[in-house]
Every structure is written in C-alpha cells, then in structure tokens.
Subunit: 196 residues, 2 copies
C-alpha cells in the first residue's frame, strides 16, 4: 500500500524477476536493446557522468573469445544465451562532462588530475547504471543473468582497452527450462536498516 508503482510492475522488475541460468533460442533484437537503453539512460549518476559502456557480443567468433575468459561454471550459459553484454566503466568519462553537465563548467577539472579518482567514480556510477540496465532488461520482459565470475584482465585485453574496466557480464534472453534455483533468502530489514 505504501508503493505507488503498480503490483504487476513490482512483480516484473523485482518480485518475480529472477537471474536466469538457461535461455530459449529467441533472439534479443536491436530494437529491444535500444528501448532498454533509451529508458535506463535517465537513471541518475553523479554529475550526470554516465560512465557505463555496453559491449554487445553478437558474433559467434566474439562469443567464443568471451567464453574462454569466463569461469568454468559460467561458460555453458554464456555460450548459450541469445545475447551477452559486457558492461564496463569508462575511466575517461570526464571528457564528456562539458556536454553532460554544462551548468557546472568546472566539472571536468575536478577529475583531470587523478586517474585514481576517476576510476573510483566511474566504477561506482557505472555500477549504478549496471543495476538500471538489469532493471531495463526486465522491463523488456527479458531475464538478465549478471555474472562476476570471469577473468577481468583477459576480458579487458580482449574486448576493451586500458581506459575501460569491465564490471560484469550479463546474459540476456527469455528464460528456458529450469532457468533458476529456488530464490535465496533475503536479509530481514532489522539486519539492514538502522535508525539514528
């Protein structure tokens, strides 16, 4: 009763949505990816820095190269998912700040001097955007399978460059047979929320 988001949307995005481990063969189209991006690009980031970059692995050759860098347990699903996306943080995001945050012309200068500060900010904010992306995949009626089990240095060398840090790899598609384990328990709110 305390939420205004309708119950069907709550189910679609959170309550019935699950991390899928198997997928049907139905392709994920460019139109779907575009619609997901056009929705989730509005999610907030610090100074609108928007550091998330998305590499869609569509060719069989690229898929094979990616699978080789996945943890063994993630290889079969990464090989089988209709679409796989590498989500990365652009550590040179500050170059875009004059365009993205025009009402504060000093924004870029805050990051010019320190690659370390840029990496920290890019990772945090691209992680926020990765969550928005997962929500967007679900908003398209698809299941996301985000994975952290991969060789980050290998993926970076194979698909990205020194300025882009891979954060996670996401399988995308319609859930197949036995797509998930029973849902794990969540922490009671008393364990998570403290009031001062």
């Amino acid at each position: 009763m305390s939420l205004v988001l309708d119950s069907a949307a709550q189910d679609l995005l959170f309550r019935e949505a699950r991390t899928a481990n198997t997928f049907t063969d139905e392709p994920v189209t460019e139109e779907q990816v575009q619609a997901i991006y056009d929705l989730v690009k509005y999610g907030p980031t610090a100074m609108n820095q928007s550091p998330l970059r998305i590499t869609l692995v569509r060719s069989a050759e690229a898929r094979e190269r990616l699978v080789a860098h996945m943890a063994e347990g993630n290889q079969p699903k990464t090989a089988a998912a209709p679409l796989v996306a590498i989500l990365s943080a652009d550590n040179e995001f500050h170059e875009e700040l004059p365009q993205l945050f025009p009402h504060f012309p000093g924004a870029k200068g805050l990051f010019d001097g320190s690659r370390e500060a840029r990496e920290q900010s890019a990772t945090l904010n691209a992680a926020l955007q990765s969550a928005y992306f997962i929500i967007g995949v679900r908003a398209a009626g698809l299941a996301a399978g985000p994975m952290g089990g991969f060789d980050a240095t290998g993926v970076q060398k194979e698909f990205l460059d020194d300025d882009h840090t891979p954060l996670m790899i996401v399988n995308i598609g319609r859930p197949g047979e036995d797509a998930w384990f029973p849902r794990g328990p969540r922490l009671e709110s008393e364990r998570v929320i403290t009031t001062v």
Copy 2:
C-alpha cells in the same frame, strides 16, 4: 513498443523521475521505508551477498552531525530533506553467506582470506543495491537525491565503523518548489553501445 513495462511505470521510475534538490515537509514514514526495502531486497547481487546497509538519519541531533560532513553545496538540502539515508557497504558481508547462499557452502571461504577482495565485491554489489534503492524510492512516489559530495572518512567515523564503507547519502521526500535543474543530456546510444 519493445518494453512490456507499462508507460506510467516507465515515467515514474525513469523518465519523469528526477534527482530532487528541494522537498516539501511531508514526512517519509517507516511504512514507506519498509515497503521500499521489501521490494528492492529482491534485486540481484553476486552470490546473493546483499552487502547494502542503510542508516536512516531521523533525529535532529544526528542530522546536525551529518550535515557537518556534507560538502557545502549539499548542506542545505541535507538539512531540509524529510529523510536522509546513509547507504554503506558491509565489508564483512561474507559472514552472512551461509544463510544467504546455502546451496554453495564454500561461498564464505572464497572471501575469508582477503579483506581487499571483500571490499571490492561489497562496493560493487552495494552500488547495485543503491540503484535498486533509488528505484524503490521512486516506486513509492517519492524523489531521491543521491549525493557523493561528503567527507567519507568523517561519515564513517561518525555513523559507521571500520567494516562499513559509506557509498552515498540520499535525500528522500516529496519534491518541493524548483526541485530540479533542467535535465542534463544523455549520451547517444552510438556513443555507449558497441557490437562485436
């Protein structure tokens, strides 16, 4: 057309939702916070590690202590918001893994040896959960004002402990007058999405 989430929900969560800088006096209730948590707790994290911790700053005394650690530009809105939440990552999240990820008894052991690995995983996954939380605040019909401009060491010492890293501070409430700047531009998808 490519999304199945209804258009009103898209607007509520992404398209019309904005980062608010001013708020009305209407309180944010415990019931609202509970409903937000009970929805967004289902958002996925790696091995269900769920490292996000939420500190609700409700007392006038605690609010004053928090405002002192905010960047100057963030102080007035942090002082005025109906509710302020400190979002932090629990770097000792692995202690909960036997409960949260019971089908892989070795999960805790993966993190026992390295505080650095725990911090990295906790930060990334608590950032994902911070985004789910922002979406949840919007699902409650409220505006969120996430802020990174604060003295992290000061906030950690004042409100948390060595095992909890503050990630962001979020003002929560109904938007007040002149609550936001015009929305900043977003990157074209061609700049963000690459296909291989």
